[in-house]
Amino acid sequence: MSNQVNSLKKGLTVKDLVTTGIFSAIFFVFTLVGGLPFAPNPVLTFYMPMGAALLCGPIYLLMVAKVQKRWSVTILGIIMGIIWFATGMHWAFSLGYIGMGLIADLVAGAGHYRNKAINLLSYMLISLGGIYTYVVFFLDPDGWASTMLKNGTEQSYIDTMNASAPSWLLVVIIAGTLAVAAFSGWVGGKMLKKQFEKAGITA
């Protein structure tokens, strides 16, 4: 253990960077696999962040357990942001991942990347990276639809938006994503203990 304390000071080694890269690749693919079925569907599209959060818990927790150093999670967030940008996703999606990556890193760092409950919390936070597109929508439903509406605004649309959907839907998205992420992280934690620690692949 004394070895690892020393390496904490040294910052990220090449091995840490390579590990971060490899796990980012898996994180990206699993986010896509979980989220894609939701995207092209008017009813389900809003629940996409939940699908995206469902599969990545074990990956994220193993990465944190392997690296155990500052900036690795931030780099994961930035890479996700860059990839979403390059694939033409909504801008808030990219920025959301970068911002939440940084926050998740700070949170996990508060537990020195070893506290399992805090690591789980930090996974829940990075999973929120996907919701900002919808936050933008709820903040300004008018601007969202202005392209489609002939005269800029349309009162009936604003009314229905205010009446039915917004208040609870955003809450459902946030709470749902957190819950799904918590579940995924819980499974990940169990797997870490049952398999990966025993197999000797954590740091």
Binding site: N3, K15, K194, Q195, K198, A199, G200, I201
Partner: protein
């Protein structure tokens, strides 16, 4: 010059693979082969010279390792990299880029050479190593042997004085091994120092100046090639070493007669992505038969094995078992493939759990007795990932026995195994054969084929031109098939399995 003075090393939290009081001096331009059983410390020696110990692998190191008078452990890794080039065992995890050109340039880019020089050096490496057809390609489309060539070219472009190769032939077919030999000869002509840790020894006999035999972390003896070749077979095998000369490897005189066939293939045609891989193959196999499958990369060996196991969908023709037609689902139930990278088929958290994983109503007494029989009982609590390669393979075989599979396919079961492990696998296969399983072995390993197989299927260009018995009478044909040369009479001419172009399917 490389000097190891009183070097001892122990990996952190690991008992095997350490070294005890190693003293060795290697002159410039020498080619030294390190051999010995798995865990004897031969790979550890290469890691001392390229600085991975102590900079990447933690542990307790005493003594000193000098390269050209400089203490290796005091140099930063990137300065060592300019002196000492390393090529490793696994071609799949050695590349950093997606295209071959960038990969060849990877090392010299890190040396921050100007772009004009980068292009010149990549060209030079391409010409010297004859890899023009591999330029500007996607690495994921290359075969294992081709990937290994790119890894070699990347190091070659850096033009180090010392080359380290750690089991470079493990994942190569016979043709690629011959090409590797050619590349090593080129280095020797250039006066480079070469250190190789290897299990397969035959291809290095004409190259090595000294052969260092290690046992349990100590240098047991240093041979000249003449001395080494003069070792009686029994002595060599007792030392745990594989054949020094494949010309001495012989198949048995005869095989016991087989019973009537149980598995039959009638006019089987296999397609992969609409391209015909194998055309109208017919064959029959009896219980207890062990059948080798050979052919160059891309000849359809993998597709054939996957089709046998019911994993490949695009098949035409009939598969019969005991005269009954066997659909894909039936084949899947009846068969099991022991993969080359066996890690993909181990899922559970302990060896014991692995034996009952996914089986409804597992027979625990059968599981226990199988583990006992395969010598795995002491490891039943261990995580499969912590076992050695040979042990993992035996776990996979144990699973197939517990599931009651009758048709087994082994994909390159001896890659990276030392002599002891190879004989163990051979013994295991003999046992499976006695149990009446039908066994197919996809392999490039001539020594292993002679020990285990009763016949060999040869695939080429989508056909099956050969079904050859592994007996003395067929020796010339077998040698041709595995490109085995006898006493240099054929020189270093390439032949046999042809060129390894095209991707393994």
């Amino acid at each position: 010059m490389i000097e190891l003075k009183h070097v001892s090393f122990a990996y952190q939290g690991q008992e095997h693979d350490g070294l005890h009081d190693i003293n060795l001096t290697i002159a410039d331009g020498e080619c030294v082969l390190f051999c010995g059983r798995s865990g004897c410390g031969k790979t550890t020696i290469t890691r001392l010279v390229n600085g991975l110990i102590p900079q990447f692998y933690a542990g307790e190191l005493t003594g000193s390792v000098l390269v050209d008078g400089q203490e290796i452990s005091k140099l930063p890794m990137y300065q060592i990299a300019a002196k000492v080039g390393s090529v490793f065992q696994n071609p799949r995890t050695q590349f950093f880029n997606v295209d071959t050109d960038s990969e060849i340039a990877f090392g010299i880019e890190n040396e921050t050479r100007p772009p004009v020089e980068l292009a010149e050096r990549v060209e030079q490496a391409t010409d010297d190593l004859h890899i023009r057809p591999l330029r500007n390609r996607n690495i994921f489309e290359l075969s294992g042997g081709e990937k290994q060539k790119i890894a070699f070219a990347s190091v070659y472009a850096m033009n180090p004085e010392i080359y380290l190769l750690d089991e470079p032939s493990s994942n190569l077919d016979m043709t690629s091994i011959q090409e590797l030999k050619g590349h090593l000869r080129l280095l020797q002509k250039q006066g480079k120092t070469i250190l190789i840790a290897e299990h397969r020894l035959y291809y290095l006999m004409g190259l090595a100046d000294r052969i260092v035999y290690l046992e349990q972390g100590r240098i047991e003896k240093i041979f000249t090639p003449e001395e080494f070749r003069g070792l009686p077979r029994e002595t060599r095998e007792r030392m745990g070493l594989r054949a020094a000369d494949l010309a001495e490897v012989r198949p048995p005189q005869v095989h016991p007669p087989v019973s009537s066939p149980v598995l039959e293939l009638r006019d089987v045609t296999l397609r992969y992505k609409k391209r015909t891989v194998l055309h109208r193959i017919s064959l029959a196999a009896a219980k207890g038969e062990v059948i080798g499958v050979v052919g160059h990369n891309g000849a359809g060996k993998t597709t054939f094995s996957r089709a046998l196991c019911g994993l490949h969908k695009d098949c035409e023709g009939q598969f019969l078992w005991d005269g009954q037609a066997m659909e894909r689902k039936n084949r899947l139930k009846r068969s099991y493939m022991v993969m080359q990278d066996v890690n993909y088929e181990l899922f559970a958290e302990s060896v014991e759990a692995e034996c009952s994983f996914g089986i409804r109503n597992p027979d625990l007494t059968l599981a226990a007795s199988t583990l006992e029989e395969l010598g795995l009982a002491p490891y039943r609590e261990r995580h499969p990932n912590t076992l050695s390669g040979g042990q993992k393979q035996r776990v996979a075989v144990a699973v197939s026995m517990i599931c009651g599979k009758d048709l087994l396919v082994f994909d390159e079961p001896t890659s990276g195994l030392d002599f002891d492990s190879m004989t163990q696998v051979a013994g295991l296969i003999r046992r499976l054969s006695e149990l009446g399983k039908v066994i197919f072995i996809v392999t490039h390993d001539f020594e292993f084929v002679c020990r285990t197989c009763s016949r060999v299927l040869h695939f080429d260009e989508g056909e099956m031109p050969g079904d050859i018995p592994v007996v003395m009478d067929a020796l010339p044909k077998l040698r041709e098939l595995f490109s085995v040369k006898v006493n240099g009479s054929e020189g270093d001419r390439e032949g046999g399995l042809g060129h390894s172009d095209g991707k393994e399917r």
